[in-house]
């Protein structure tokens, strides 16, 4: 494993192909520089972090459902943090905080984007490895170290960071404001800074690889949508993570070196008036959300990319409106930098800014709507195969619709006055970002498992896993909308102290039971995943009949990805079910017989009936095309 081979000519590589690379265990499995191994490392670390995050959520859900009851096993598990089997309020806050941090950064940023960017960018672009395998390796190990630092905060005497995953100062800046703001928050900040380093190293590598190392014929408009999504994600990360780095450094200064970036006019109980003056806590929020909002798209864009590929492959149809999909990805990426203020409508920010941020925020709904409609149009008249990956992709679209629509409420500055920080927000982002992105991740895992491990996962178990997870996610998050609308605030340790919330006791129990069910379903996945790695059915070269070029190489991983030269690409990634071909797919690397650059299928009867005639009025065309979606008119 050396960088020289990567830059070597094809002939040089052919010589190498005869004998295997002999690598020590450490070079191959630990400090590996091979992008496929690194993606596996990201995935498995991500899965472990995801399990921890999920267990945390189950713990605090139990507290919310049965606030008066005591669970003996909690004391065994958590010790002094759950004396008498009841979780301590400070520990509850810590669980909420670390659950959020783990899920947002460690699972859905590193676990999702890290895994699939690493796996797919070289394989789908047709390059031998990442532009810089060494940076790639560093990226993983920074991420790993960061995970360890974050988890180590559970062993701090004052507990982990507990001021919410946004760690707003002054709560997080004042060590005496709550126990979690002591050593726990320092560790949190260190972990996040290490994480940012990892994200930046990864991001720059992804961008360079996509832009410079595509194989012959792989022009930008032939890129699979996954690669477009990863490219834009990496750009978002590269531009926004440094801002969080700055925000975090300032917070460290405020905490440990006595500066006043975020602190002013504070009198703390038991300490007295502090000397800090002139800072602004709202400035932190601006800096945080300047990352925080693009971060949401850093999470969801890769999931979109994966979904696009999976839906096209399994519906056996070209994705509807490839260029519209790319444009909507682009516009979402650009707009995501201009909307951070919608998290801050009621922080006391100038109301005029509120109106501006509201405009831009609701504009984002347009490209998002386009994406949804394009997915629906792709499903229409397909020949749909329900692999687990496809099921999860459909689940993603469903969550994205449900959660996206509530975004229209929250993006509206006026409506946000009441809904801000209520359970409505919890429901909204868990659907649109949490569940949707995790479904994208599952979809990717089921789809590219054969590529990663050379084995197949069990489809029946996958389907059961999907339906259980899907149902339980809706059962958990849908009722939360109504709780929020009834005025239940988020991040409350228990509701039984406020009589008005008594009516939600039943619903809270229902949610927790559903969450436990969802948690159980993940055991199926874990079993399926780890069992299949070792004992799964061996995979074939192209098990899904897919067009993209990662399936053109051998099942067994080879160093440099392809024996011999990298494949040449002749067409776009979505040539499924072309009328001029017998097979319902047409791999990108398969040479055609003098076909035109832009293939337009001969119009079928159906298409003819609503194809745009210049004499037709636009309204007529519009309604006739919808009539077709519902099949109201006979073809």
């Amino acid at each position: 494993m050396s960088t020289e081979t990567l830059t070597a000519t094809h002939t040089h590589h052919d010589e190498h192909a005869h004998h295997e690379h002999h690598e020590s265990f450490i070079r191959k499995y630990v400090f590996s520089m091979d992008h496929k191994m690194i993606s596996k490392q990201f995935l498995i670390t991500g899965i472990i972090m995801g399990c921890l995050g999920m267990i945390m959520s189950l713990l605090f859900r139990m507290q919310l459902a049965w606030p008066e009851e005591s669970f003996g096993f909690l004391e065994t598990l958590l010790g002094r943090w759950a004396k008498g089997g009841k979780i301590d309020p400070n520990y509850y806050m810590a669980l909420v905080t670390i659950h959020g941090t783990i899920m947002v950064f460690y699972v859905l940023t590193a676990g999702l984007s890290g895994t699939f960017s690493n796996l797919l960018i070289p394989l789908q672009c047709g390059s031998r490895d990442m532009a810089s395998p060494f940076l790639n390796m560093l990226s993983y190990w920074f991420f790993f170290t960061s995970s360890i630092v974050l988890l180590s905060s559970f062993f701090a005497e004052t507990g982990p960071a507990s001021s919410g995953w946004t760690v707003y100062p002054p709560l997080s800046a004042l060590q005496k404001a709550m126990p979690g703001s002591g050593l726990g928050t320092t560790l949190w900040l260190v972990a996040i800074i290490l994480f940012i380093v990892s994200a930046l190293l990864g991001g720059i590598n992804y961008i360079v690889t996509v832009l410079n190392m595509r194989t012959k014929g792989m022009s930008m408009n032939r890129l699979p949508l996954t690669i477009w999504a990863f490219l834009l994600t990496a750009c978002l990360g590269l531009l926004s993570f440094p801002v969080l780095l700055g925000a975090g450094l300032f917070l460290i200064f405020d905490r440990s070196f006595g500066t006043s970036f975020y602190l002013s006019d504070i009198y703390l109980n038991g300490i007295g008036a502090l000397t800090n003056s002139g800072g602004s806590p709202v400035m932190y929020q601006h800096l945080f959300w300047f990352l925080g909002h693009p971060e949401v798209y850093i999470i969801i864009l890769p999931a979109f990319g994966i979904t696009s590929e999976v839906i096209a492959t399994n519906a056996r149809k070209p994705i509807f409106g490839y260029s519209a999909m790319v444009i909507s990805l682009l516009s979402i990426a650009v707009l995501s930098f201009l909307v951070w203020g919608h998290h801050m409508f009621i922080t006391g920010m100038n109301p005029f800014l509120g109106t501006l941020f509201m405009y831009v925020t609701l504009i984002i709904a347009v490209p998002s709507a386009v994406k949804t409609f394009n997915y629906l149009a792709t499903l229409w008249k397909g020949n749909i195969r329900f692999t687990p990956a496809m099921l999860f992709a459909i689940g993603l679209v469903s969550f994205f619709i449900s959660g996206g629509l509530t975004g229209i409420y929250l993006g509206n500055a006026a409506l946000d006055i009441q809904m801000h920080d209520s359970y409505f927000v919890v429901a909204h982002f868990h659907l649109v970002m949490g569940s949707a992105a995790i479904f994208g991740m599952f979809s990717g895992i089921y789809h590219w498992f054969p590529k990663m491990f050379g084995k197949m996962m069990n489809n029946t178990l996958g389907s059961i896993h999907f339906w259980m997870t899907f149902a339980s996610a809706y059962m958990v998050f849908f009722p939360m909308h109504f709780m929020g609308l009834a005025g239940v605030p988020r991040r409350y340790y228990q509701f039984s102290l406020i009589p008005e919330f008594g009516i939600w006791v039943n619903v809270n129990i229902f949610i927790t039971v559903s969450a436990l069910m969802g948690g159980t379903a993940q055991l199926l996945f874990l079993y399926n995943f780890f069992y299949s790695i070792f004992k799964g059915k061996p995979a074939t070269e192209n098990p899904w009949g897919s067009n993209t070029i990662e399936w053109s190489t051998t099942v067994k991983h080879v160093h440099g990805n392809w024996h011999g030269p990298t494949p040449t690409v002749y067409r776009g990634p979505h040539e499924y079910s072309r009328p001029d071909r017998e097979l319902d797919y047409f791999p990108q690397h398969e040479p055609g017989n003098g076909e035109p650059v832009h293939y337009e299928a001969p119009e079928t009867e159906v298409q003819k009936s609503y194809s745009t005639d210049s004499h037709d009025k636009p309204s007529k065309v519009f309604f006739s095309s919808f009539a077709h979606l519902f099949q109201l008119r006979k073809a």
């Binding site: 056996r316 149809k317 922080t347 386009v370 619709i401 229209i408 339906w467 509701f495 406020i498 006791v505």
Partner: protein, 540 residues
């Protein structure tokens, strides 16, 4: 269990062989009708079994039907123990039996399903045919999920829709707010239903069929333009309407001339309200003036002066304890020995913690920081007092008659402006019934103007006697965040006036400033200036 079973089959080839033979002959002998009958019978047996379990466990005599009336749905009924269980404890036991039998039922169902899957997998392996077409199962699941899901959503809209706050706002702008909300609900619900139906119907309709080919249909620009423009138009309408609503709320009475000003003061973990007294003006406040007697930091000169004296005394005390650190350490060590002799582990632990604090220098740093803080505060207060212009801005004599309360009383149909101030960290004042929320940020004053339109009495008539308006904290602020609330009462002008009269003004004129021997700060600083204490510690 299943795994053990499979392992067992694997290990006993003979047994497995016989079993396979038996199953395959069984399957081949059955035609589809008998198979279906078999399945139905299995399900019927399970249901009968479960039903018998439940009916046995439900003791009719103890089942008090009144506690399960229409307003309290049967689902999860056992959890009404907060109200119901105290009166009729027998219900608890009944409910728990229901719970257990349900759990048993679910376990049974899972086992049966697992067995069914197992058998089908085995048979498909043996016969080489697929007994279950998973594509078909998933296809039908799509439709089932769509129907069940949409009906569940409809149920939620009806049942939980009753519980949400919208439609009966207790403030003037709340009505505008609610209409904005209603419009958004209507639009989003329509889009939600249509898109979800399409999303689940298409996979059902166009599920894979052998021999069929998907339609090659890569794009239709006109269609795409249409579904870009339509959302754009709808969103523009929503944005314009939202813009209007937002402006009418946040720009209400900006100069504060038409409304009564009330200060809402937040601290870890509670709220105070401050009313202007008889002069109708709120006095000036500053965090530097906060003391035990002056919790809001009013610029009341006698109190500020006594704070200065207190601070100076505290500085002296701190510097003395720095001086005495070595002695304290010796005393602690002696205490530790005593505690050890008496085998008092708890005392040992706490004392050793203190000793560690001193020996590693934490205590010293803390004391230095405390002196630094206090002398800075003294300096700043003196600076305010020395500059006549600043002095005039602070000490306006309007604060004496201010009224500080634990409850918030508002006048019906009268504009009120909240001026928010936080003492320590960010809180958020949320009055959900009035559609009012604003963050309370230390060092940055915020405001909110609105008009309550429904008295507490009227709201109680609508929602029941136990109802009360509350102001909640809605920004994570520490350990007791979940219990940081203030009661809000809306009344007529006369009632509020009468209530205010019963409250004490913040400060009555004081007799004289208590005289404590004042020590100059410079003296105390000179004491700590020498690092003698540190050196001594280092030697130890």
């Amino acid at each position: 269990m299943l795994i053990f079973f499979l392992q067992f089959i694997k290990n006993n080839n003979k047994f497995a062989h016989n079993l396979k033979k038996a199953i395959s002959s069984f399957i081949t002998r059955m035609n589809t009708t008998t198979k279906n009958i078999f399945k139905l019978a299995l399900v019927a047996i399970i249901i009968c079994f479960a039903a018998s379990l439940i009916s046995k466990s439900v003791d009719i005599q103890h089942f008090n039907i009144e506690n399960y009336s229409a307003e309290k749905p049967l689902f999860g009924a056992d959890e009404y123990k907060y109200e119901a269980a105290k009166e009729v404890p027998a219900n608890d036991a009944v409910a728990s039996r229901i719970k257990w039998s349900l759990l048993l039922f679910v376990i049974l169902l899972v086992l049966v399903l697992a067995n069914a899957f197992d058998i089908s997998a085995l048979t498909s392996k043996i016969t080489g045919r697929q007994t279950i077409n998973s594509n078909n199962v998933n296809k039908w699941m799509m439709l089932i999920f769509l129907v069940v899901g949409l009906s569940a959503v409809a149920w939620e809209y009806v049942e939980h829709g009753k519980l949400i706050l919208y439609g009966n706002a207790s403030s003037e702008h709340g009505a505008i707010y609610d209409s904005m909300f209603n419009i958004t609900v209507i639009i989003t619900t329509i889009v939600f239903v249509i898109t979800q139906i399409l999303l689940f119907y298409f996979p059902f309709k166009y599920a894979k069929k052998e021999g069929r080919k998907a339609l090659y249909y890569a794009h239709n620009n006109r269609l795409e333009v249409f579904w870009t423009i339509i959302p754009a138009i709808v969103l523009t309408l929503l944005v314009l309407r939202g813009h209007q609503t937002w402006r009418s709320i946040v720009y209400a009475d900006m100069d504060g001339s038409k409304s009564t000003n009330i200060e809402i003061f937040a601290f870890q973990f509670g709220w105070n309200a401050r009313y202007a007294g008889e002069d109708g003006k709120l006095g000036v406040c500053d965090y530097k003036f906060i003391s035990g007697k002056n919790k809001l930091g009013l610029a009341y000169e006698p109190e500020v002066d006594s704070l200065l004296v207190e601070l100076k005394a505290a500085i002296v005390a701190d510097s003395l304890s720095i001086k005495n650190l070595p002695t304290t350490l010796d005393n602690l060590k002696a205490d530790f020995k005593v505690a050890k002799d008496y085998q008092n582990d708890e005392a040992c632990e706490s004392i050793s913690k203190e000793i560690e604090e001193i020996t590693c220098g934490d205590r010293l740093d803390e004391l230095h920081a405390s002196i630094n803080r206090k002398s800075k505060q003294v300096e700043r207060i003196i600076a305010i007092k020395k500059n006549p212009k600043v002095y005039a801005n602070f000490f306006t004599k309007t604060e004496e008659d201010d009224i500080i309360t634990q409850e918030l009383h508002l006048v019906k149909d009268k504009l009120v402006t909240f001026k928010f101030r936080s003492r320590d960290i960010i809180h958020s004042a949320w009055l959900p019934h009035f559609r009012v929320q604003m963050n309370v940020v230390p060092g940055m004053p915020t405001r909110f103007t609105f008009m309550p339109t429904k008295t507490t009495r009227e709201a109680k008539n609508e929602n029941g006697e136990s109802f009360d308006y509350y102001l909640y904290c809605n920004k994570i602020c520490g350990t007791s965040h979940y219990n940081m609330k203030m009661k809000v009462i809306v009344e007529s002008q006369q009632e509020v006036d009468a209530w205010l009269k019963t409250q004490q003004p913040a400060f009555k004129p004081m007799a004289a400033t208590p005289v404590i021997p004042a020590v100059d700060i410079k003296d105390s600083i000179s004491i700590i200036g020498k690092d003698s204490a540190k050196k001594k510690l280092a030697l130890k």
